[in-house]
């Protein structure tokens, strides 16, 4: 489902996101935790190259919040 040219770009994108960390974990003890997604967690957010927000970081005027009402219901607000 992925073309030759596209695959090269995907590998490049992964290089930028994960620095070349392999996708398949090396689970040394072989314990399976999930067959749907958990093993993909090798590349957890801590391991990726996330930019840090500094004082000069640009901002987007986007304000989404989840508000808890007095009766306990939750409302999305923008």
């Amino acid at each position: 489902m992925i073309g030759q040219k596209q695959m090269l770009d995907i590998i490049c994108t992964e290089g930028i996101e994960y620095g070349g960390l392999q996708e398949i974990p090396g689970q040394q003890h072989g314990g399976r935790t999930s067959f749907h997604e958990a093993k993909r967690g090798t590349r957890s957010v801590e391991k990726s190259s996330i930019e840090c927000a500094g004082p000069d970081t640009p901002c987007v005027p986007y304000h989404l919040r989840l508000v808890r009402e007095a009766d306990g219901t939750l409302t999305w607000e923008e």
Binding site: M1, K5, D9, I10, E17, R32, F35, V45, S48, G54
Partner: protein, 681 residues
């Protein structure tokens, strides 16, 4: 429970001295006996192929006088053509297997085998005469059909590298490709195309790595080093997948006694037939989806299409345009020019006990448990489809967020992507007109931001007083990185539900909740998994968020009741029902965020044309003329008629039978082998 599964064991009593035994006793007993006799033993399960309705398993012959292995590449159809040629007392002597030697005939002499040449002469064959339980090894007959095709097939140019590190991968890849090329000539001809595509990709990666090495030698930056690392990781993936393909797919070839399968419980005949089944299953889906590339549709068409899409998650309420059409109305995805996938790289399919069901860029694995328990919901091949859909969604995400090789980008989100998100947010209208590709990307970002906020709601009083703070782009990027897995899973769920489960909410929920009770994450994060499943069956209903949640909840409760009634139980079900009662507010908030994303995925990625190709029912003899997946049925007393069956619909029909406890016999291993044998054909 009747035991239909048999074991064919070969005990090595000395050099070239093999004692064989057909047994219905546990293979552990056979192994124990081998240990006591200090002999090496290899065995494989063999299944009587022709069962009688309502009768128990056929008797094992009291004496084995010969064993004939037929390496049919379409055993289901071979059984269909053999049946009218066999006498009633011969039927019980025919067995099918999970190996490349897909059929095993007991006590057929060579003259009788010659009589059956119309059905089997086109396949390799090995015949063991047996005397008082001992194989007469020097009289073994081996036959390989002569090649009928004289056209010259272009050979592949194996990858090579002089780079000391890459050389390891290049050599390993080349050696595996050579082994597979030779094996596929006889046992899986059409898979040579996969090797061609893999070779092209490996050569391209090595070439790009060489270029990067030259750049790095000239003091290039960290970006080039990251790309080089990613290429090496890609080559390792290819190398590992090919190694599995060799060890699993080629062992058990003719001559049978020459290679031991790496699967100890299939050590005699291997699992080459089962590998062919999961490969064919994968190819069938890949073919359907390659007819219209998501990447091409997004980059060529959606990038120019100006559409109003809802930008506000808080106001999202679905509507009639989101409802699955009942007529032949075309979906957005199907409009516009043809967009076939260019040079798609097929996934290498193999089994894995450690990885279970899993997808990576170059391979897809099925849980090894499926070899003996595919007919049980947790190990059904339907789960393989979920993994294959990850490949599709990988392509979608790449079209939305991916970089290109020549980009100098260092960050996860580019400046342009930030700018487009900013202008989307800044627009006054709740439904912002922007090109659809950017809108879809922005929706994913909004969704990821919402998932981050779920764990930290603010009280109304605090919310009134607090000043709105702008969102730093770095934080947006971080939230995307942290929660994109959830957006990916939702997209995969939609593809699985729509294309594979034919939009049937109850079977879908029953299937995933039968499998999820066997793995750890749903126990650790029940709220997330429950919400994912509810949002999936809510997509395409067109209902407002409240009604959609209520209906999905009803479906879920009904599915759990049906599972319990069918004997599938778990304390997790009680936990989930408790969550629905006690944490409904949280569930609704989570659901609303998921519904916003998955309903729009439904609107722009549903495809009637691909769906029809996935079903592949038009020529399937088991569909009996119907093109509706709901009408699909099969029986273990019916054999192949020439045309192949639809792998996905067959696997789904089998799953339905299990969920309804409707199988004709109750031998899980026999039923699993039957399913794999039919799909391998």
């Amino acid at each position: 429970m009747s035991q239909f599964t048999r074991y064919l064991a070969a005990f090595a009593d000395g050099l070239d001295q093999y004692r064989i035994q057909v047994s219905e006793s546990s293979p552990v007993e056979l192994a124990q006996r081998a240990i006591q006799a200090s002999s090496e033993m290899r065995y494989s399960p063999i299944m009587p192929a022709f069962l009688s309705r309502g009768a128990g398993p056929p008797e094992i012959p009291s004496e084995v006088k010969s064993v004939t292995f037929v390496f049919s590449t379409a055993p289901y159809q071979t059984l269909g053509s053999l049946k009218p040629l066999l006498a009633s007392d011969e039927l019980r002597l025919i067995h099918f297997t999970l190996g490349l030697a897909s059929l095993v005939f007991l006590n057929f002499n060579m003259e009788r085998i010659e009589d059956l040449c119309d059905s089997i002469s086109m396949f390799p064959l090995e015949h063991w005469p047996v005397n008082q339980g001992m194989v007469r090894v020097h009289e073994i007959v081996k036959k390989i059909p002569e090649k009928t095709c004289c056209t010259h097939e272009p050979v592949i140019q194996l990858p090579a590298s002089f780079h000391p590190e890459l050389r390891v991968y290049a050599e390993q890849i080349a050696a595996s490709l050579q082994a597979l090329w030779a094996s596929y000539e006889t046992y899986f001809k059409e898979e040579r195309n996969t090797l061609r595509q893999i070779v092209a990709q490996a050569n391209s990666l090595i070439e790009h790595h060489t270029e990067l090495q030259q750049t790095l030698a000239n003091n290039a930056g960290i970006l080039e080093q990251k790309k080089a690392n990613a290429i090496r990781a890609g080559l390792v993936e290819i190398s590992a997948a090919l190694s599995y393909a060799v060890t699993q797919g080629t062992s058990g070839s003719l001559p049978v006694l020459s290679s031991r399968s790496p699967f100890p419980h299939h050590s005699l005949l291997g699992i080459g037939g089962a590998v062919r089944a999961i490969t064919k299953y994968t190819r069938s889906l890949e073919r359907a989806f390659a007819s219209r590339s998501a990447y091409e549709v997004i980059t060529q068409r959606y990038s120019k299409l100006q559409l109003s899409v809802p930008k506000m998650l808080s106001a999202y309420n679905s509507g009639p345009e989101y409802k699955f059409p009942t007529s032949t109305q075309q979906e957005h995805f199907d409009l516009g020019p043809d967009c076939p996938e260019q040079d798609p790289i097929p996934l290498i399919a193999h089994f894995s006990l450690r990885h279970g069901f899993m997808e990576s860029k170059f391979s897809v694995t099925a849980a090894s448990e499926a070899l003996t328990a595919e007919s049980m919901p947790p190990w059904t091949l339907m789960t393989l489809s979920h993994e294959i859909m990850h490949s599709r969604v990988r392509s979608i995400f790449h079209a939305l967020f991916g970089k290109t090789w020549d980009d100098a980008a260092h960050s996860v989100l580019s400046e342009n992507e930030y700018d487009e998100f900013k202008s989307w947010i800044a627009a006054v209208e709740p439904e912002q007109r922007m090109n659809l590709r950017s809108s879809l990307r922005n929706m994913v970002l909004v969704f990821c931001d919402a998932v981050e906020l779920l764990s930290n709601p603010v009280d109304r009083a605090d919310a009134e007083e607090a000043e709105d703070e702008d969102l730093p782009v770095a934080k947006l990027s971080e939230r995307y990185s942290r929660h994109k897995y959830m957006a990916i899973e939702l997209m995969v769920h939609f593809h699985d539900y729509y294309f594979i489960y034919a939009r049937q909410p109850l079977p879908y929920l029953m299937s995933i909740w039968a499998s999820w009770i066997k793995v750890a994450p749903p126990y650790a994060r029940p709220l997330e998994y429950l919400t994912r499943s509810l949002a999936t069956v809510a997509s395409g209903t067109g209902l407002d968020k409240k009604a959609a949640f209520d209906q999905a909840k009803e479906y879920f409760l009904e599915a759990v009741d049906a599972l319990k009634a069918a004997g599938t139980t778990s304390p997790l079900y009680e936990e989930l029902q408790k969550l629905l009662l006690e944490r409904e507010n949280e569930l609704r908030a989570y659901f609303e965020a998921c519904y916003y994303l998955i309903d729009n995925v439904r609107l722009f990625f549903a495809s009637g044309t691909i769906s029809e190709r996935v079903d592949a029912l038009r020529f399937d003899p088991l569909a009996e003329g119907s093109t509706s997946p709901e009408d699909y049925g099969y029986s273990i007393y019916v054999y192949g008629e020439g045309k192949p069956v639809s792998p996905v619909r067959f696997a789904l029909a089998s799953l339905f039978k299990t969920l309804k406890r409707n199988h004709e016999i109750d031998d899980t291993q026999w039923l699993s082998a039957w399913n794999l044998m039919v799909i391998s054909s």
